[in-house]
C-alpha cells in the first residue's frame, strides 16, 4: 500500500492510496471549512442538492443510469466533522478497472462524473433548481429532527452542545433546525460559490491506479475550480480547562430507559505526542468489551445496558455514554468515576493493558482492510494537516508505557454531565 500526498494547487490537495487488494476504487472530494453555527446547515445542504442532478443528467433517474454504466458505482453526499473543521462533498465506490468486462477504464469516467456533479449542477435561472432546493431542505430538516430518534446518539450530541457551547466544536455537523429553516435558494447558491472559491479542497483516491494517473483523472475538477483565491488553512482547535465543578444538565423525553452522557476534557489531541497513550487509556477505560466500564459497570454490577467511552481524536474531548434505569443513575455515575480513578491510580492489570493495546492496534490495522474506514482516516489526517498513517500510529501505541497511560488518565477531568430521563 503506497500513500502519496500532493498539493495540486494552493489549498487543493490529493491523497492517493495505491493498492491492488480491493475489487473497487474509492473516489472522494471534500470541501473543508471552519465549523460555524451560521454556515453549518448551508454547507451540509450543498452536496444534497448537487446530488439531485447535473446539466448533463438533470434528474435522479438519469444519474442512476450513468452510475449503472459505471458498473453500479455509488456517489453519496458526505457531511462530517473533524475537530472544528466541517467537511462536505462526495464519496463514491466504483469497480476497479481490473474487473471491467471489456478491459475499459472506469477511473476516468467516474472522476469525470464526480466533476460534473460538483461543478456543473442542474440550474434554473442561474441558480439551483427551486424544487430540488426545497425538497432537500425538507430532507435536511427531517434528518436533524430524526437525531432525537436514536436516544443514545442524541445524548452524545447534547452533551457536546452543552460542554462546548462557547466553542465551534459545540455545533453539530448538520447545523441546527432553526438555521436550516431560514435557508433560501439565493443563500444556498452564494454558499456554493463560497465553497468553490474559498474552501480547502481534499481529493482522495484508493485503488489500483498509480498517483500520476489519478492526478490526471482528477484534472477536470482541479482545473474547474476557481483560480487565484486564498483558500482556508488548517485549523487546530483551542484547548480548554474543565470547570471547577462539572456542569449538570437534565432533560425529559418520552423514554423508558435513561441515557447518561458525560463529557471529559483530555488535555490532549491528535497533534500531541501523548495521543497514543490517550488512545490506550480510552480502550482500558471504556473503549472495548474487555474495558473497565464494560466489565464492571455493565457485566459485574449490571448498572447499565451499555457503558462505553470514546475519543474525539481532533479535539480535547472524551465522552462516556451509558443507558441506565432512572433510579440507578447516581450509582452508575459514581461507578463510572470510580473506574476512572482506578485508571488514574494505576489500578490496571497487565492483562487489561494488553487486551486494550491489542484492541487499539487491531482496530488501526484493520482500517487498512476497509476502503471506507481508510477514506475517513485520511480525511481526518488531511483536515488536521497530519501525515501519520494507521500503521505508524499503531507502532507508537505498541511503545506506550504503563506510566504514560497513568499520566494520560490523570489528565481526564469531568466537564459536563448530561442526563436524559423520562417524563413524569
Amino acid at each position: 500500500m503506497k500513500v502519496t500526498q500532493l498539493t495540486l494547487r494552493p489549498g487543493i490537495q490529493l491523497t492517493a492510496v495505491q493498492t491492488r487488494k480491493f475489487k473497487s476504487s474509492t473516489l472522494a472530494v471534500r470541501f473543508l471549512l471552519p465549523l460555524s453555527e451560521e454556515e453549518a446547515s448551508l454547507n451540509a445542504l450543498v452536496p444534497m442538492v448537487l446530488r439531485r442532478g447535473t446539466a448533463e443528467h438533470p434528474d435522479l433517474e438519469s444519474l442512476s443510469a450513468a452510475l449503472d454504466e459505471l458498473y453500479g458505482g455509488s456517489l453519496e453526499p458526505l457531511v462530517r466533522k473533524k475537530g472544528e473543521t466541517q467537511c462536505v462533498g462526495f464519496a463514491g465506490s466504483f469497480l476497479d478497472d481490473a474487473y471491467a468486462l471489456e478491459g475499459e477504464r472506469v477511473l476516468e469516467p467516474a472522476a469525470a462524473l464526480l466533476a460534473e456533479v460538483l461543478l456543473r449542477p442542474y440550474t434554473q435561472d442561474g441558480a439551483f433548481c427551486p424544487d430540488y432546493t426545497r425538497q432537500e431542505k425538507d430532507n435536511l430538516i427531517n434528518r436533524i429532527r430524526a437525531q432525537v430518534n436514536d436516544k443514545r446518539q442524541y445524548a452524545q450530541i447534547r452533551v457536546v452542545e452543552e460542554m462546548c457551547g462557547e466553542e465551534p466544536f459545540g455545533v453539530d455537523k448538520l447545523g441546527s433546525e432553526a438555521r436550516a429553516r431560514t435557508i433560501d435558494a439565493g443563500q444556498l447558491w452564494a454558499q456554493y460559490q463560497k465553497l468553490l472559491h474559498c474552501a480547502r479542497v481534499e481529493l482522495y483516491y484508493c485503488g489500483s491506479a498509480e498517483a500520476e494517473r489519478v492526478q490526471a483523472a482528477f484534472a477536470p475538477i482541479v482545473d474547474g475550480l476557481p483560480q487565484g483565491e486564498a483558500r482556508m488553512g488548517v485549523l487546530r482547535p483551542a484547548k480548554r480547562e474543565a470547570p471547577r465543578h462539572p456542569r449538570r444538565v437534565e432533560e425529559s423525553l418520552d423514554v423508558t430507559q435513561g441515557k447518561l452522557a458525560m463529557g471529559f476534557r483530555t488535555g490532549c489531541d491528535a497533534w500531541d505526542e501523548g495521543y497514543p497513550a490517550l488512545a490506550l487509556v480510552n480502550a482500558v477505560y471504556g473503549g472495548t468489551t474487555t474495558s473497565k466500564l464494560f466489565l464492571n459497570v455493565r457485566e459485574r454490577l449490571s448498572l447499565c445496558y451499555y457503558a462505553s467511552s470514546g475519543l474525539m481524536k481532533y479535539k480535547d474531548v472524551m465522552l462516556v455514554s451509558s443507558g441506565v434505569e432512572f433510579d440507578k443513575v447516581g450509582q452508575a455515575e459514581g461507578e463510572i468515576l470510580s473506574q476512572l480513578y482506578k485508571c488514574q491510580t494505576g489500578d490496571v492489570t497487565d492483562d487489561e493493558l494488553e487486551w486494550a493495546r491489542r484492541s487499539v492496534v487491531s482496530t488501526l490495522l484493520t482500517t487498512l482492510d476497509a476502503q471506507s474506514r481508510l477514506e475517513d482516516y485520511w480525511l481526518g489526517q488531511a483536515a488536521a494537516g497530519l501525515t501519520e498513517g494507521p500503521e505508524e500510529l499503531a507502532r507508537r501505541v505498541e511503545q506506550v508505557t504503563r506510566a504514560e497511560v497513568v499520566t494520560a488518565a490523570q489528565n481526564l477531568i469531568p466537564d459536563t454531565v448530561y442526563f436524559l430521563k423520562g417524563r413524569d
Binding site: 500500500m1 493498492t19 491492488r20 487488494k21 480491493f22 475489487k23 473497487s24 435522479l60 433517474e61 442512476s64 443510469a65 452510475l67 449503472d68 454504466e69 459505471l70 458498473y71 453500479g72 458505482g73 465506490s93 466504483f94 469497480l95 481490473a98 474487473y99 468486462l101 468489551t289 474487555t290 492483562d351 487486551w355 491489542r358 484492541s359 492496534v361 487491531s362 490495522l365 484493520t366 487498512l368 482492510d369 476497509a370 476502503q371
Partner: protein
Amino acid sequence: MVSKQYPRVGETVFHEILPNGLHVYVDRRRDFQKSYAFFATNYGGMDMRFRLDGAWKDTPAGVAHFLEHKMFDTQDGNALQDLAANGASPNAFTSSAITGYFFESTEKFFDNLKILLSFVSIPWFTPESVDKEQGIIGQEIRMVEDDPENQVFYALMECLYDHHPIRVPIAGTQQSIARITSGTLYACHKAFYTPSNMVLTVAGDVDPEQVCAAARAILPDQPGLPIDRDYGGEEAPQAACGEKELTMEVSTPIFQLGFKADPVKGGEEWLRQELMGELACEVLLGSSSPLYARLYSEGLINKNFGYGFELYPGAALMAAGGESRDPRKVRDAVLAEGERLARDGVDADLFRRVKKGVYGAKVRSLNSFENVCISLAQSHFAGVEYFRFPEVFDAITPADVQACIRGWVTPRRCGLAVVRPGEAV
C-alpha cells in the same frame, strides 16, 4: 488439496475434503491484516422434521436458533470471552437454511480457529443453562414480535406459502421453545453438526494446509449419518392467499409484496436462478427502472423501498417492500409493469445497463471477507462454485429475464402483506 484460480474475480481458492467428509475452502488473500473464519452447518430454522437412522423425528420450531445461542457455552466457561481475550471479534447467526459461527482477527488466527472448531463441535448443555436461555430467547422473541418489519415479512411468507416451513419464525414462539430440553439440543446437535453436514470457509493470508491440519486434529473422525429432511411436499405454484393485514403502532403503512418463484434443486442451476431473479427485480422495479421513478415521483414509495430475490431449498421468491400510503396501488402498478414486460419484452439498453450494475456490485461485494465466506459456504451446500458467477451471469439474456417475469409476476403468484397504523389487537 486442490487449488483453483478464478481469474474473472482475481481469486484463488484452496479446497480439500477431509477423511471425515468435511469440505474446507480457503480464499487466500494477501496484503490483508485480518483473517476471517466461518464454520457452518447445513441446518436452519426450517429443518424441523427429519429422518435419522431410519426414524422420522419432529422437533419444535426454534431449535436451530436455540442451539446457536447455547453452543458458546463450554465446560470451562464461554467461548465468546476466550475469543475476545485473544483479540478476535466473534459472532453467529441462524437463517432459515443454515447456522454459522465466525470470527475475525489480526493476531493468533490459528489459536482462535481451534477455539471456534472446538466449541462448535463439542456440545455442553445443562438443564439449568437451558432454562435460563429460555428466558433470554423468550425476551428476544417478544422484542421481534414488536418489530413491524419482522411481522410484515412473516405475514408475506404466510400469504405465499401453504405449508413450507419458511413460514415459521426462525426463533420459534414462546410455546415452541418451552418444549425444548437439553435432550432435544443434544439430539439435534448429533444429527446436524456432523463433519459431512458442515463446511469450513476461511479468507485471509493464512496457510490452507494449516487450516486443514487444525480441522483434522479437533473434529470427529466419523462423517456422521445422512439426513433426510421433510418440508411437507412440493408447494403449488400459486400463492396460498392474496393478502394479509396486521395493525401495529407505526406512523405509515409498511408492506411487503412478494411473488412466488420456481424453486430449483441445486448445482449451477441454483446460481443461475439466483442471478436471473436479481436481474428480474432490477428490470421490474430497481432504482433505475421506469416504474421506480414513477412510483417515487407519485409519492407511492420513498427512499426506504427495498427489494431482492431469495432462494431456499424448496422455495424461492421475489420480494419488495417499504413504506407506502397505498400498498395496493404499488402492487397493482408492479403487476401491470410485469404484464407489460411479459408482453413487450425487456428494453435492451436498460437490460445491458442493469446487468453491468449488478455485476459490478457483485464483484465489489467480494471486498468483504464475511460476504465471501458466507457465500462460499451457502454455495457449497447448494452444490455450486460461488466464484463461477461471472460465467453464469454472462449467459443470461433479456429473454431469460422476460421469461422469469412472465412466469412469476402474475396475480395468482402474488401476495401482499401490510401493517397498518393503529392499536395492536
